[in-house]
Symmetry: C2
Subunit: 345 residues, 2 copies
């Protein structure tokens, strides 16, 4: 999870806990110098350096948590370590420019494998025009952990924040959701959480086009079930310099509109749970989630830069911070909070 | 160790291995875009963003490697996680501006301790005008690992690189060396590797003063014994865009001039080895090491910004890359390579 963000279900239920947490965060962000233009709590932070806006994000991938070294090719480990960060860059509508990598390697990992791993990260990063410009290597007697930091630039497009959802907005997602751990046959050995494509191009198009620009955006790292409450909480935040709380917002999620991935269908076949629960709870989708004004919803494109875009619900007024309700296919409405899906994080 | 740097003794002996490694590094750096103004292999990398030069460094501290969580107060763990990076900023003569933190916490670490740890890192960073602007938290069943990335700006002073040592230069260090793991009484419970002061002010004075500006600089993280070969190797490097190799340089180190720390004396009392071996091999000094033209050596200050500066040797021509010789107090000269000090890294 990002530093400065509420911790999903656990945090928004009971709501008072989330407010405590947010207040704690604001009290710390309030002391930040004015050159910090995006404080902790968004997909990237930003600071002004020499008149330029510099965005930065950090993410770690650990053996046994985010990948299984015993069964995952090094090239895929390297890819995920880099692309997780690029998904954060996409979430801001920014452009990646450079990366640094820290690797803590199990003793005995071997120089050849270490070189292969770092060369692979270098190659993945370069393929996104995001050269590796530094790093650090340590050894220890524990599993492999890779930490990647990516710097990004705005390149003339104001970053899209998590904050900004408005009552009446429609909620959109790119791609399909759920089943990110499933191995598919087509393309061969495709496993979404390792092979996903960070949505940089879609995000850039959205952020830079006045007709399309979302009110707010984040990337789905822990699944809609955890990330939608974050989007709502951000919308309810005061300005970075506290000036009273904004209106509390919630989400009405349209279950029959969710774009279900093939992986989610496969997972559902195995465990007998409905595919939509996988779409909400599996996590590691690395798709964009954003809101758009209701007025443009009818003419909003269903495909952007070759990627499907689906409207899956709307922002509603809510008494509690971040109340998510599910509109089921039979028309009934129920709170999401009843579902406590387990997922890796 | 930094990505892109030779690995000390192991690498420079035999020398051919270091040349292989350096060539491998150059071949990779050669493909970097021109906006990368400092490629991997220095204390920080640098890239141009929106016309501004942005420097970045990453370092990790792991329980059992860089600190012992069982015996170290969280505040000291937090301090070291941040100041290790600030020492890299000092090594460039740059000014820190922002940090991001990734923490991989042992399951069961507890929310209160986690908050205390991150609040402490935030406070340390802010005390150096380097606000925390983002981060990532994961949990796993292994020891605590913290990875800190720091961004820095040049603020009108060209960064001082590792590369640039010239035959005839004198070699200087700040502070005193060795015994960084020893616990001292004055100040109470001072342990250098946890409590050191990153030499930001001294470095800034050196880099920004035309009369004092070093030819090259790095910070001593692994001890003179490992870091001097790196300084020599960097001096022998071609330009970032390969244009033939420069002259190979070595070091004549004046053993009786080494500024021996109280910690080194204490360690020597315990293990019976001479204090100067501790000064060379213990590591984690986080002092600056830099070279200055011979012509200004006689009038070079012995104290800068309240910190002692000592001339400890000179750069000499060398047949092999990075040959270090020791001029002993009795006038004899011997190669450093015979000593194979063990130290934590």
């Amino acid at each position: 999870m990002r530093i400065g963000e509420p911790t999903g279900f656990a945090a928004y239920n009971p709501p008072v806990r989330e407010l405590d947490l947010l207040n704690h965060i604001y009290s710390r962000n309030a002391g930040l110098p004015s050159r910090v233009t995006i404080p902790p709590g968004d997909d990237m932070g930003a600071i002004t350096i020499g008149g330029a806006s510099v965005l930065v994000t950090v993410d770690q991938v650990a053996d046994g948590v985010h990948f299984d070294l015993a069964t995952t090719p090094l090239a895929k480990v390297a890819r995920k370590a880099v692309t997780r960060n690029l998904s954060d860059v996409a979430a801001m509508g920014a452009v990646p420019v450079a990366a640094v990598v820290a690797g803590c390697l199990p003793r005995g990992f071997g120089e050849a494998k270490a070189n292969a791993l770092f060369d692979a990260m270098r190659a993945v990063a370069m393929s996104y025009d995001c050269p590796l410009i530094g790093g650090d290597i340590s050894m220890w007697d524990h599993p492999l952990l890779l930490t990647v930091t990516v710097l990004a630039e705005t390149a003339g497009v104001e970053p899209v924040l998590r904050r900004g959802a408005k009552v009446g907005d429609n909620i959109c997602v790119t791609g399909t959701l759920g089943g990110s751990m499933e191995t598919l046959d087509d393309p061969p050995d495709y496993v979404h959480h390792l092979d996903f494509e960070p949505r940089l191009n879609v995000a850039r198009k959205l952020a830079g086009d006045a007709m399309l620009r979302p009110h707010c955006m984040l990337d789905l790292s822990d699944g809609l079930g955890k990330d939608l409450p974050r989007l709502c909480a951000a919308a309810s935040k005061p300005e970075p310099r506290p000036a009273g709380r904004g209106p509390s917002v919630g989400v009405e999620l349209w279950i029959d509109r969710l774009p279900i991935s093939r992986g989610a269908h496969r997972a559902a076949q195995r465990d007998g749970r409905p595919p939509w629960q996988h779409a909400l709870g599996d996590g590691e989708d690395y798709e964009l989630c954003f809101t758009i004004p209701r007025e443009i919803a009818d003419r909003f494109p269903t495909v952007i830069e070759g990627v499907p875009v689906t409207q899956i619900g709307r922002i509603v007024a809510a008494d509690d911070d971040a109340a998510i309700t599910l509109r089921m296919p039979d028309g009934s409405v129920q709170p999401m909070g009843e579902y406590g899906w387990e997922h890796h994080d």
